[in-house]
Amino acid sequence: MVATFARLKLKLLRNSVRGKPQDVVSLLLAMFMGVGLVFGTVAAVVYLRTQAPELVGLWVINLFALLSVVWLIFPMLAGSTDGTVDPAKLAHLPLTDWNWITGLLTAAMVGVAPIATLLFLILWVVTAQTIGQGLYLLASSMVLLAICVVSAQAGTAFMSGLVRGRKTRDIAGALLAMFAVSFGFGFQFVVDPLFDLTEAQLGLGARWFRWLPGGWIGQGVAWSRDGDWIKAGGALVAGVGYVAVVSMVWWRQLQTLLTSTEERGGNGAKSDRFMPPVGELLPLDIRTSLARSLKEIRRDPRIWTTVVGQLPLIIILGFPISQWDNERLVLFSGMIGFYGGMLTANLFGVDSRSAWIDLSAAPSMRPILWGKSLAYALLVGPLGIVMALVLVLWKGGAVYMVGGIALTVAGFGAVAHVMIPTSVIHPIPLLEETNLFGGQAGGSVSAGIRVLIAIFLGSLYVAPAAGLMAGAAWLSPWATIAASPVVAVWGWLLWTRGIDKAENRIHTDQSKFLAALTP
């Protein structure tokens, strides 16, 4: 059965090359990134061979523990568990618990990310001093890979179960947003010391990290280097035990997901409840589209994963910015606009059927595009204000708040200018998944590439507004307030232009647009 699941996964990966061009590109890029990771590892371990043997042991404990934590947390934040072998498609088959667990885990281990991880682990074998140590490293690599994969699967399955209710999604979304913001700006406190690690610091980290499942394996490797084979064997057994227990717990959760449906009724989402007062000022067609989009955002858990999945962007952007110790940092709350703009990257993918109705019923898609993008703007607007306030409390410079909010509008407009047409040209129809975080292999790479392109192009478009604001800040803090209307209007114009481009694209080639929406 294990072999059948492995062959099924390989066949699905191979056939994805016969699929849409973006799938092929995603898979190739994922492989490219995997190869890059392996080469990076080669360089690192070759360097470590020159280090003192005690230091290698400490590095192994710290890195192996961190690896298992990354595998657990990253898929939940970035929505990237490999769900290529979707268990819902096999739910009617007579499989025993053992068949399911071993089969699905095997399938999850066949892919670019797990193979790159395995190579990363196996390459540590060059640091081994004896054949016994080398063999132990090979065995521990397999166990650690299993720990990583099962942790990711269990973590996302539990998160999927947790966010089945709308209220839970609201709370979890708010908590994760707070985590991303605080981690993005507070990350420097974690990372800075890494650039100048001493043996004592490494030892301190190892002392704590060895209590994590990945750390057990790292500690086992360190013990094997010391020739303490009984303890080393015990570490491996503990790792295997962790895999067994977590697998069972994961499978029980997955069974619940497979044989139940999302909670319905109760906390119904009425559109008027979410319509902000400003909505009443909008024309009727845009207001209707906005109300529908707000309702859709709250009701569809796949949108929740999209919104949460873009949160690492705040970490990526927040970290370098927070290095700057200046009250002008408040202006960088505008990067929330980038995050909001990213959310417009797949406006039609969640409910592709409604696009058919919209196209046949509405005289123009412009109000639909306005309503959909405005809904995301309203979602991130409060977050931008919160971030500006947090930065004011941290760095001072309340006078820059207005400028920060104006830059949020500019950032949103700049990225939406790129992403709204993209959501028309290359929509990604989202399928119903048992595990909300499960997706086709390479899907997260595809999303990641969109993020990078959007940041690059968005930066170009926002440059005039950012330049104006920077110049104003250089002159006087009060000048940023004067520059704010111009900066906000620039963002507004870019947003409008993006909608025009998308509208033209839809009407130029309606059939192509609708065909792209078919999963």
Binding site: T4, R18, A91, H92
Partner: protein, 303 residues
Amino acid sequence: MESTPTPPRTPDTAASTSASSAHRPGGGGRPPDGPQPSRPKQTDAAVQPPSSAISALGLTKLFGRTIAVDKLTLHVPHGSFFGLVGPNGAGKSTTISMITGLLRPDAGEVWIGANETWSDPVAAKQQIGVLPENLRLFERLTGAEMLQYIGQIRGLKTEVVLSRRDDLLETLGLQDAGGKLITDYSTGMRKKIGLAAALLHAPQVLFLDEPFESVDPVSVRTIRTVLERFTESGATIVFSSHVMAIVEDLCDRVAVMNAGKLVSSGTLADVTQGQRLEDAFIELIGAEETDAGSLSWLQRSPD
């Protein structure tokens, strides 16, 4: 669960909304506040499998505060072609999902032959083939590849899988499409490849949820022929449909559902009482003619 078949104890075509025996399946969902169906009583008879091909006893499912299926008891005799009909939202798909082990009931039990679906899902699923309404297929496999993997996962020998695969593809008119990715299939082709996957292991019972929906007449004819040939071998088929003419034409037994309850069940003659099925159906569910006059604004004036 180890279950020992016992002598027949159920009537040939018993079907009612009163529960004969039921229990809460392991890990069943928590009933929320709001209207609650009265829970079926526990009896020792729960451990005795009924003699029918399928027996649903006191099956209940709630979605939030909505009772989707309310204490449904249904027996499907061996070798019957059983039609499950009802208006939209009657609970047909929910019932089929619960019987086939795809949706956990809040109460009740389901027997496929001598195996209780939720106590021993592996044994129950070995005997059945399912074509669900919302068919989920591996889009990145070809039709032939999908059949091959399904067969292998079901534990069939490779040569048996390959031989049956080719037979099914040919019979269903998919031999040319066998090498195409499923993502490129039309709705009718998807239904047919789903049916092929459900038939591959020659199940004793076949469940089809709306098999003729969105399917062209040629494909309907092909599917019908395959199903008729299948029942001739003594197998049991349960299918849900809105198309009364097809149900009337194919089925020897019918059950009518409305608002989560079974309103009638038995042989076609018993249920229709000499009427057309459509008329009997409308009478049974108590549907009223809609006043077309309320849409008078749709009528154009002569000028």
